[in-house]
Amino acid sequence: MLVFIINRIIQSMIVIFLTSIVIFAGIFAIGNPVDLLLDSRATFEEMEQIKANLGLDKPFWEQYYIFLKSSVNGDFGHSYIYNVPAMQLIFQRLPATLELAFISLILSIIIGIPVGVVAGIYSKNIFSKCVMFLSVLGFSLPSFWVGLMLIMVFSISFGWLPSFGRGETISLFGIEWSIFTLDGLKHIIMPALNLSLFGIAFVIRLSRAGIIEIIHQDYIKFAHAKGLKNSRVMFVYILKNIMIPIVTVLGMEFGLILAFAVVTETVFAWPGIGKLLIDSINLLDRPVVVSYIMMTVFIFLIINLIVDLIYSVLDPRVRIIIND
């Protein structure tokens, strides 16, 4: 098992390394970021001066080497706009995004699994057909538009919920959490629902399909033939089998949630890294974009590793493959 983890860490490091080359080449080498920072009346000398300050006059490989050296120390350059280390900006905003992402993930689990399971058990029902249609709706609705509609209904028409920002936070273990305050909850519920919609649709479909497949298996019939209570068959015999594909999807879903957070944070003005990314793209603040990408790649790799580990705990057949 330890060998497996070390193997994965090495693989991940290679991925990060390769990604960093691609990103660096793509973002820094193409185009001239200096143009934005100066107005058009700047003289040639001033432009050269700024270039030298930012280290942009050196050849590509030297620039990359400097980038690599400082990034190992966690320094991905300074934001052109805010003039603080770019990674620091990311870290400041990361908790807000992670909080939103986790709540969305949890929502998709606690709504998606029960509804999907029921739809699977009573699969000929009208309930099941409705649920399937609604799930297609879940993927098709453009999430930014849903966000706007949510704001229109709950903030503007009814005035129940605030339309932007993050609520009051409480500091726990050095991190700011907003879900422990009422104000924070009021602020997070709409963006979290918005972000979790496609996830709910995914999980419903997957749970339903999983149940339909599993419920007709011989081992479930045998479990009934043993005289086990329905609840035991459901919660142990069926559920453990269904969790396997669901966990894999959840990993992928978390990645998608992080990506779509970019949109939700923009609509709801949620102060996370997603909004930071869009602003940075618009303002051509490249170090921040690079930091965002590196952070995202890192998070994705960790998610994949965790999903694989959970998967091996749930499915004993996989453990043999890992331990070889």
Binding site: G26, F144, M152, I281
Partner: protein, 292 residues
């Protein structure tokens, strides 16, 4: 089964789902409307002489001074929402379909190439494809747009680049299965040229699952483009897709002028929904067929 035309059979199976049929009809209506938009819209919303800024932000149903009714209201510049939506539909569809077709061609080629040649090509290509597949398309598009900058062509390139992998993976998978079948072996024995084998024998048999992918991916492309335009990094304002229209109306919602965002949103929703429903039904029909 040989007595029935395969297309007829496909159609009758498709028709079994009334909802899918309804979706298909709606989709065709939308496509026709968008193609005819210059003809049927009451005004040309991008012709400055046609619009009147004094008639901006009017609610749906208001009468215009020029004699037609603003069925869906006007935006802040005085543009008729109905016309703007029809034009926007056209652009959204055009961008979605164009990027879909090119992504299809590129992905199909790479997939077939990898499957046919096998070995190290296959391994390397699929490694790359798998890596890209583990990243959400929206992030890839955003990053590409950072480097490429603005412009319609850049948006289409970003869309193609984020989507081709889906086609490539399915194409390779199907091709691998087909390559094991006897008709390929007999073609090789007859010493037909590589070109003939791949294009004439292999390709047509790989198409059914790819058509399903294409339908669904075009839906994704349209949604992605709308999202990018909404975020301000998508199509330029000279080519206002539905996403941009929604973005424009964002601020006016706070003042209760919901129609500027809501109606383009509904149009977008119906477009994507119908594409997804049709794609879903196609997948249900074509997949069990493959298992035979």
């Amino acid at each position: 089964m040989s007595s029935l035309n395969p297309y007829k059979k496909l159609w009758s199976e498709f028709y079994e789902s009334k909802i899918a049929f309804l979706a298909l009809c709606t989709l065709l209506v939308l496509i026709v409307l968008s193609l005819l938009s210059p003809i049927i819209s009451p005004q040309d919303p991008y012709n400055l002489s046609d619009i009147n800024i004094m008639e901006g932000r009017l609610p749906p149903g208001t009468h215009s001074e020029r004699g037609y009714i603003y069925f869906l209201g006007t935006d802040d510049q005085g543009r008729d929402m109905l016309s703007a939506i029809l034009y926007g539909l056209r652009i959204s569809l055009a961008v979605g379909v164009a990027s879909g077709i090119f992504a299809f061609i590129f992905g199909l080629s790479v997939g077939l190439f990898a499957a046919y040649n096998g070995g190290i090509f296959d391994k390397l290509i699929m490694r790359f494809v798998d890596m890209q597949l583990s990243f959400p398309a929206i992030l890839i598009a955003l990053i590409l747009l950072t480097t490429l900058g603005r412009g319609t062509d850049k948006v289409i390139i970003a869309l193609i680049a984020s989507q081709w992998v889906y086609y490539a993976r399915v194409a390779r998978g199907t091709a691998l299965t087909e390559l094991n079948k006897e008709y390929i072996e007999s073609a090789r024995c007859l010493n037909l040229s590589k070109f003939r084998i791949i294009i004439i024998q292999l390709l047509p048999n790989c198409l059914p699952p790819l058509i399903v992918v294409m339908t669904i991916e075009i839906g994704h492309a349209i949604a992605l483009e709308a999202t990018l335009s909404f975020l301000g990094v998508g199509l330029p304002i000279t080519k206002p897709s539905l996403g941009l229209l929604i973005s424009n109306g964002y601020e006016y919602m706070l003042y209760g002028k919901y129609w500027i965002s809501m109606f383009p949103g509904i149009a977008l929703l119906i477009l994507i929904l119908t594409i997804n429903v049709v794609g879903d039904q196609l997948r249900d029909i074509l997949n069990p067929r493959l298992k035979q």
